[in-house]
């Protein structure tokens, strides 16, 4: 009976875990201030890659419905890659200027969204393949 009781308790706890995702003491679980696509693992990747996925990929990533990629394709018509993370001609200053000033319909990003340190990491990632 004792074992059964423990088993029931474990099962009950499992059910609770499955149904109520509540952080301890109602303090809540902090989230990154943007989104990592669920299928993308940040593990083992440089910070700039992870932050790029967080902040930029929903507009500048691959696949349909990415307005940033679509706009750069229309702008360069293949002369430069439409995907920002395949470019080799961007400078850190240019990237920071666009993020902090916006361009066309891309808005300004505040420091509470993309911190200076995050932006440095993104700039380093996007310039990783530049000719030295």
């Amino acid at each position: 009976m004792k074992n059964t009781g423990i088993g029931l308790a474990v099962a009950f706890a499992f059910l609770l875990a499955a149904h109520t995702h509540t952080a301890a003491a109602q303090q809540g679980e902090r989230v990154k201030s943007a989104w990592v696509k669920a299928t993308v693992s940040g593990e083992g990747q440089p910070r700039g890659y992870v932050e790029y996925q967080n902040y930029c990929s929903m507009c500048h990533g691959e696949g349909p419905g990415k307005p940033g990629t679509m706009a750069l394709q229309a702008k360069y018509k293949g002369a430069e890659p439409a995907l920002l993370d395949q470019r080799t001609d961007l400078t850190p200053q240019l990237i920071k200027t666009y993020v902090r000033n916006g361009i066309s319909i891309m808005p300004i990003f505040r420091k509470t969204e993309i911190s200076d340190a995050d932006l440095d990491a993104i700039a380093a990632y996007l310039t990783r393949n530049n000719k030295k």
Binding site: K32, K66, I105, P107, R110
Partner: protein
């Protein structure tokens, strides 16, 4: 350092120092280059002296810090303007409605406090975005969907408080309606919880909306009576299956019974996805997207004074062999129920002679990535920025502008109203020298009324923006003269729109002002938001 109007530089310096004591120096922004990040990227006043700009920004990390900031603001009478994720583009972004306010940037308050799968709700802070919430539930395998708007980088709280909409079942599409319980910091720094949250130890804050006594949640939306720091939302348990179909009807006046039958099907729960009207003949989709320029014969028919002649339009459609109108209807639920509901919908629509049906397929959910590529992701609770494709540089739009704002009146959910709105706005567009749409179809976010959406481009050309602002104001007035009101608008136009809600000598606005003076006597919170000004600024304007 810019100083808020009516505040002495010494008081402002003292307040800023006290803000820094609360949140840390790193999270108080006073340098010009940092404050400039709070400009509304889609401001209709971009670069003009009247552009609405902040004097500073302060970014708290929790409700206690919000309380302290509000108390400091009250002490020094500093105007503050809360934003959630600040991505309310087209409706003000992260800029204040009263120039010189200190933006209270709540982005750092990004805790997901609870996601309850069993009872299908969540409780979040204002800095949580739809992308955040989606990622959270995906990573944990929680079988719930969040109703997301276009685009998805905004905040569930911010979007709901601005009364935005989404794409799932009717009871979720209206984001304010789908909330359940909120926590608010009042202007005096007190915390208030609404609904069942007012009961200490309540077990049902996110399960029963209205609590006991007056249900006041509505006064915290499109307003400036408090800082909402937590909000609960009902979520959709992940549906098993999805089915979609398209109905076409041949004649011009078929739009009238088409809308009525759809209304019956929606209001009886037969079709529960968001419907989309289109026009194969006019190559029109939803959201007012411009179709190709119609051929001259069709353009002449549409341009007829008093609206198109139905018989002439029918003759043209017959000659072309193209139906006038389409409606895409969709179903979430069990596969048999979806199939049965589609059959029933077909039976009802068949009351319109010549109605034809195209099966769009039945899908087991969740969609595969290949299937997702065929659909508008928000219809499956998946946040996206795809909406920005409208207005972005593309093959057909090689010289994009710098954003947009929407003119978006609510009109009755009837075919007659669609015809009348087209007649009225077509005539107005001619008089105001605006691009004339061939024919606009409304969107169906709300199940009891239509929204007409017309995008106004934002440029960095002062003269163009001035002209567009004047045209926008005129359209607001023309709409109101026909009994149609805006559902939401940018701060640049909030006063003009509020002016149109003028029944009985502006009794509603006067009530708002009475509330404002009672709960925020120093007028520190979001002065001017949705046309509600505190007493001292009303007197200054008089």
């Amino acid at each position: 350092m810019k100083v808020p109007p009516g505040v002495s530089p010494s008081d402002f310096s003292e307040a800023i120092q006290q803000f820094e004591n609360v949140v840390g120096k790193e999270w108080v922004f006073t340098e010009d280059e940092d404050v400039a990040l709070y400009r509304d990227a889609y401001s209709p006043f971009w670069g003009e002296p009247d552009e609405l700009v902040a004097s500073a920004a302060v970014a708290p990390d929790g409700v206690e810090q919000v309380q302290q900031i509000v108390r400091i603001a009250n002490k020094y009478k500093i105007p503050i303007y809360p934003v959630s994720t600040g991505k309310n583009l087209g409706y003000g972004g992260s800029a204040p409605a009263y120039s010189g306010s200190v933006v209270l940037d709540l982005k750092r308050m990004n805790r997901i406090i609870e996601v309850n799968e069993r009872n299908a709700y969540c409780l979040v802070e204002p800095g949580v975005s739809y992308f955040d919430l989606y990622r959270y539930i995906q990573e944990r395998g929680i079988k719930l969907w969040v109703d997301v708007p276009d685009p998805g980088w905004g905040s569930p709280i911010g979007n709901a408080l601005d009364r935005g909409g989404g794409y799932l079942l009717p009871q979720f599409r209206n984001h304010f309606d789908s909330h359940c319980g909120m926590e608010v910091v009042l202007a005096n720094g007190e915390i208030l919880r609404t609904g069942m949250g007012a009961l200490p130890g309540s077990k049902t804050w996110q399960q029963y909306k209205s609590g006991f006594g007056p249900w006041i949640d509505g006064v915290f939306s499109q307003s400036n009576f408090g800082v909402v720091t937590k909000m609960g939302f009902w979520m959709l348990p992940a549906p098993d299956s999805y089915q979609v179909g398209t109905v076409t009807v041949p004649r011009f006046n078929d739009l009238i019974p088409f809308v009525d039958i759809l209304g019956y099907l929606e209001n009886t729960g037969c079709t529960n996805g968001m419907p989309f009207f289109g026009s194969p003949l006019l190559a029109r989709g939803p959201l007012g997207q411009a179709g190709p320029v119609p051929d001259p014969e069709l353009a002449n028919l549409l341009d007829r004074l008093g609206g198109p002649d139905p018989d002439a339009m029918d003759a043209y459609a017959m000659k072309k062999g193209i139906p006038h109108w389409s409606c895409t209807v969709s179903f979430y639920g069990g596969p048999q129920a979806n199939a049965g509901n589609w059959e029933f919908a077909k039976e009802k629509f068949s009351a319109i002679p010549g109605a034809k049906f195209t099966d769009g397929g039945a899908y087991k959910l969740p969609l595969t990535p290949e299937q997702q590529a065929k659909f508008n992701l928000p219809q499956f609770g998946i946040p996206s920025l795809q909406m920005f494709s409208i207005g972005a540089r593309s093959e057909t739009n090689p010289t994009p502008g710098n954003g947009h704002i929407w003119f978006s009146p609510i009109i009755p959910r009837t075919g007659e109203a669609i015809f009348e709105a087209n007649r009225v706005f077509r005539q107005a567009a001619k008089e105001l020298d605006l691009p004339i749409p061939a024919f606009s179809l409304p969107t169906c976010y709300w199940e009891r009324a239509f929204i007409f959406l017309f995008g106004f481009p934002i440029t960095h050309d002062v003269e163009t923006n001035k002209k567009n602002r004047a045209s926008f104001k005129q359209l607001v007035k023309i709409a109101a003269e026909h009994g149609w009101g805006e559902y939401r608008t940018a701060p640049a136009h909030q006063g003009s729109v509020m002016d149109t809600y003028s029944f009985n000598n502006h009794a509603l606005l006067r009530f708002h002002e009475s509330l404002k003076d009672a709960v925020d006597p120093n007028g520190i919170l979001s002065a001017g938001r949705y046309g509600i000004w505190p007493k001292h600024l009303r007197e200054a304007k008089a």
